[in-house]
Amino acid sequence: MAEKAVLRIYRYNPEVDQNPFYREYEVPLDEVQTLLDALFFVQERLDPTLSFRFFCRAAVCGSCAVKVNGVSRLACKTRFRDLVEASGGRPITVEPLNFLKPVKDLVVDHDAAFENLKTLKTWCEPKEPIPEREYRIPPEEVKKYERPTNCILCFACYGNCEAVMDDPKYAGPFAFSRVYRYAVDSRVKDEHKREMVKNALEAGDVWSCVQCQKCIYVCPKGVRPAEDIQNVRGIAAEMGFRDYPGVRKLQHFVDWVYATGQINRLALPEEVYGVDPTPLINKFREKGAEVWEVPKPLPGLLEFRDLILEVMKEKKPHLDIDFHHVRRIDKRVEEVFKADVCTRITEKFEEQKSDFFSRFWKKLGEFFGAS
């Protein structure tokens, strides 16, 4: 008998069904290669009323993205046998992508997400003057946006996005990969880059990303939206869009890590939101926990500081160290530990000093002992 697997498919026809429901179909493994084949098998042999979207069958058009056991996938690029093996005999659940308006069964309406993308204006408004011949782009530049250029607008990332889930304004991971892609393209004029980045911040809510990395995991084309989002945030800070909690958080990280080798989690509420952390600290103290208000400076700090400065000299950061802030941090460290960041050097000196004195007393003792 042929090996079979069960597909549990989401069914919903808003014109006749009051509520969505699931229907199970048995698909023989040896008659299908991909999940898309399996959907065709159902439609052609078992149930002609099933609707799903497809076109190229070769992971180029991005039409056939669906949710499989909770994870966005391109049906045409998903080996059916792999799904069967991973599901360990349980039915494979196929549903429409999350967060998009259902049309019928597995078909969703992409329009709202497309409209969001359009408001960001992620396209090339060329720098003037436009050259008479073609643009010449050096390979190093192409390297920067090779990956985001591969996006096929399948909305797989959108359907698994934690920020889309909780922020209806959020434009979606793919949208910010596009912003990044055009923001580092030398053909695009600066004013347009600025407008795009501003749109990413305001209309797109780029600071809502939680950095869960799911978009990187589900992208069928190897785009890395979570990392492109980090770049967009940095570029925004560099352009001067700084009045965001996220930029203050970033400044905290850059300054504290330079100053002490670590962040200071208890200083974050104050530096980002202007909130006094004392009530929280007290809660821990009441329970008897020892609380360090400033992290202990790490040994090797001065060498580490040198490294940071060397790196920043070679590759300019999107956000510079605020040395006024660093001096305030140094002062705080000195107050708490009654020592400066050069403590290690001081310690060494003390060691040598005591060594010197002990040798001195020893010599003196020898001298008097001898006499």
């Binding site: 056991n69 909770g70 994870v71 934690e162 920020a163 909780d166 809510d205 809502s208 990303c209 939680v210 869960c212 990395q213 799911k214 990187i216 995991y217 990392e227 980090q230 770049n231 940095g234 800070a237 965001y244 909690p245 203050r248 958080k249 970033l250 990280f253 850059v254 504290w256 890590v257 080798g261 670590q262 962040i263 200071n264 989690r265 208890l266 974050l268 939101y273 929280l280 600290i281 821990f284 329970k287 008897g288 926990a289 020892e290 609380v291 360090w292 208000e293 790490l298 040994p299 060498e303 580490f304 490294l307 940071i308 060397e310 790196v311 920043m312 070679e314 590759k315 950061p317 999107h318």
Partner: protein, 290 residues
């Protein structure tokens, strides 16, 4: 005793300094000497990446090189530190030019990134290197009747090239929870949801919606607490859950704390006494049979 280098990151500061002592003792009890790799610094928390990715690669190549200089692998107890260090390793191991560039910078401190150290996250280290059976044998206070929801967190599941568990069907936590005598609750709504930690200082309303998602699902599934191998997920579920109105207030426990308690430590030693959302199951004078 087996020795492994330990990367502390920023996890054991503020009110959590005691957690490092606990971790060191727990691992010693399990036959592993965790040796703090001195001079290592913050990994950048997946945040400095926004300012300068190359800087993140540099400081983490340095962190790894410090372990390599001592001939040690690097054990990491935080999902995010793990991911950032592992991404750096992945980048440097696959890009000789980047590696050379960074090694030039590290040379000044007499360091070199060689790529010889393995980056371990505590979850696979406990399961594969220590072994679930070893842990089971060391249990002095079985957590009988405890219903514990397992929560993995994101950065050991995604992205795929650094994942330490099956991204869609993770395992290991359930086996450990079972070994401690408790009953794992694996399938619940919100088990894959983000804990919200990293959004707290970028978009607080979004973070606070996230924070309660796993606790709510766990409660509905009958769990009495959550256990996570990530100190940041733990902090989000403990501190931020307390800030959400009508939160389910399901206590969250950091995996080594649960181990410590089952190994017979008192609640203070285990760290369980310092939670904002109290771990009701813990009793101060609970007997530890030997």
């Amino acid at each position: 005793m087996k020795q492994v280098g330990f990367y502390q990151g920023c996890c054991f500061q503020g009110p959590d300094a005691h957690m490092f002592d606990m971790l060191k003792k727990v691992f010693a009890d399990l036959g592993v000497d965790i040796k703090l790799v001195e001079r290592t610094t913050c990994c950048g928390g997946n945040t400095i990446d926004e300012a300068n990715k190359f800087l993140v690669y540099s400081i983490n190549a340095r962190n790894i090189a410090l372990a390599e200089a001592e001939g040690l692998d690097l054990l990491v107890s935080c999902n995010t530190c793990y991911m950032v260090l592992a991404k750096t390793k992945h980048a440097l191991d696959n890009d000789p030019q980047l590696r050379e560039e960074i090694n030039k910078l590290l040379a000044e401190e007499g360091l070199e990134y060689k790529g010889t150290a393995k980056i371990w996250h505590i979850l696979p280290y406990l399961v594969e290197e220590v072994g679930v059976d070893t842990i089971r044998k060391k249990v002095k206070r079985p957590l009988k009747g405890w219903k514990v929801a397992t929560y993995y967190g994101c950065h050991i599941k995604y992205p795929k090239e650094v994942a330490v568990v099956d991204s869609e069907n993770p395992s290991g936590l359930e086996e450990l929870v079972e070994a401690l005598g408790a009953e794992p609750v694996k399938d619940y709504e919100g088990k894959d949801a983000c804990c919200g930690y990293h959004a707290y200082y970028t978009n607080k309303p979004v973070a606070l919606k996230k924070v309660v998602r796993a606790p709510e699902g766990a409660k509905k599934a009958g769990a009495e607490m959550l256990v996570t191998p990530c100190p940041l997920c733990f902090k989000a579920q403990d501190i931020y859950q307390d800030m959400v109105e009508n939160a389910p207030r399901v206590p969250s426990v950091y995996l080594p704390e649960l181990l410590a308690y089952a190994l017979g430590y008192d609640p203070k030693e285990a760290g369980l006494a310092y939670h904002i959302i109290p771990v009701d199951k813990v009793t101060v004078n609970a007997p530890a049979s030997s």
